[in-house]
């Protein structure tokens, strides 16, 4: 069970842990929600969104230096 994580130009395949949400990913990579917008399969989602096998998660940093 894997999902794809895209941050800027970096794209990687990651294993899914059960019940993982956008919030868990942001905590793992240490990016505060207040500085990013997240898309799941091309659609903007909120932090509670769950991730399933095959999902493509794109994290877009909209705030720098804060």
């Amino acid at each position: 069970m894997k999902y794809t994580l895209i941050i800027g130009d970096v794209k990687e395949s990651k294993d899914i842990k059960k019940g993982i949400t956008i919030n868990h990913i942001l905590e793992e990579i240490d990016l505060p929600l207040e500085t990013v917008v997240v898309k799941k399969n091309g659609r903007i989602v909120i932090e509670e969104e769950e991730i399933s096998h095959g999902d493509v998660i794109e994290i877009i940093r909209v705030i720098y230096g804060g």
């Binding site: 207040e34 500085t35 917008v37 903007i44 877009i60 909209v62 705030i63 720098y64 804060g66």
Partner: protein, 311 residues
């Protein structure tokens, strides 16, 4: 599954902690546009027939200002033009200039690029590589204001619109307070009017929109923007204050709004007590408005020339 508190759609893109509102993409876009247009009316930022010059960096804030003011432009309520300042930051500014040009062309709006090199015979990269005495943001801010004001007069603009958002404004309030720059506090607000007619009125239509919502807006609207951070911004005191406010906002989501509201209530008293009456004259070097013999841009420019000669 959470649903939009306005229309009931289940594809929510934001949950506003300060108000409890959950919004889908369409309701968020529409609500944000309405809020900005309401603020423009409430603070009387724009009059019918104004020529508004948008300071367009190509970043999210200025692109959002352009996108919303374009509604007024399309309805012939205002005339509009755009100016992009190229400070000379290699590897950073080029993308923003390109994006700014694309937006101006797409909307059919007049666009000018003005660079530090032509105006001050230096770039921000050169300044920071020299033994300059001040921080990058200080030079950049003074030089940018000089160019914007001069350009606004040149094209006959009655207002200069900038992309300052709620985060920028609360940072400015806190920074100036912490540093004891009470006179600077008297100049913070949605609209800056100088006693000198040579200064064009500056307006901040996004003053009550949090920075993250600006980012969300441009992505939801699929507007191309330059999303990189300025390589010089991390060294600034503003950056430290910004980080502090963001940390506070996590447990106190209304903190930026209450900082702004509290300041707006205090401002008349601060202004009454601390606003200094400058007799604006003209800079003996460039002819721009100046409170002293020379404007700050010329003082800085001279300092940099002296530094260059002493090397």
């Amino acid at each position: 599954m959470k649903t939009c508190t306005k229309c009931g759609v289940n594809e929510v893109i934001i949950e506003k902690k300060h108000s409890g509102q959950r919004l889908c993409k369409d309701c968020f876009i529409q609500g944000t546009q309405q809020k900005v247009l309401k603020d423009i009316r409430h603070y009387k930022l724009i009059d019918k027939g104004d020529k508004v010059m948008v300071a367009l960096s190509g970043g999210k804030d200025s692109v959002m200002v352009l996108d919303i003011l374009n509604f007024l432009y399309e309805k012939n309520i205002i005339d509009m033009s755009t100016v992009t300042i190229d400070e000379g930051i290699k590897g950073y500014r080029e993308d923003g200039v390109k994006i700014a040009k694309t937006h101006a062309k797409r909307l059919g709006i007049e666009h000018t690029v003005v660079n530090f090199k032509d105006s001050f015979d230096t770039t921000l990269d050169d300044i920071m590589a020299s033994n300059s005495q001040r921080g990058a943001c200080t030079y950049c801010g003074v030089f940018r204001r000089w160019i914007l004001n001069r350009e606004a007069r040149k094209i006959g603009a009655s207002k200069i619109a900038t992309g300052h958002n709620l985060d920028d404004e609360t940072q400015a309030i806190l920074m100036n307070y912490l540093e004891g720059n009470i006179e600077n506090l008297t100049r913070i607000g949605p609209k800056t009017i100088s006693r000198s007619e040579m200064f064009t009125v500056k307006i901040k239509p996004l003053r009550e929109i949090p920075e993250r919502e600006v980012g969300l807006y441009v992505i939801a609207r699929e507007l191309e923007v330059h999303l990189a951070g300025c390589p010089y911004s991390s060294d600034s005191f503003r950056g430290e204050v910004g980080q502090f406010i963001k940390q506070l906002s996590r447990n106190h989501p209304t903190i930026m709004y209450s900082t702004l509201r509290g300041f707006d209530k205090l401002k008349p008293a601060i202004k009454y007590e601390f606003a200094r009456e400058f007799n604006m004259g003209e800079c003996i070097s460039c002819g721009e408005p100046a409170a002293h013999e020379m404007c700050r841009a010329c003082i800085f420019s001279n300092e940099l020339d002296q530094n260059k000669r002493s090397l």
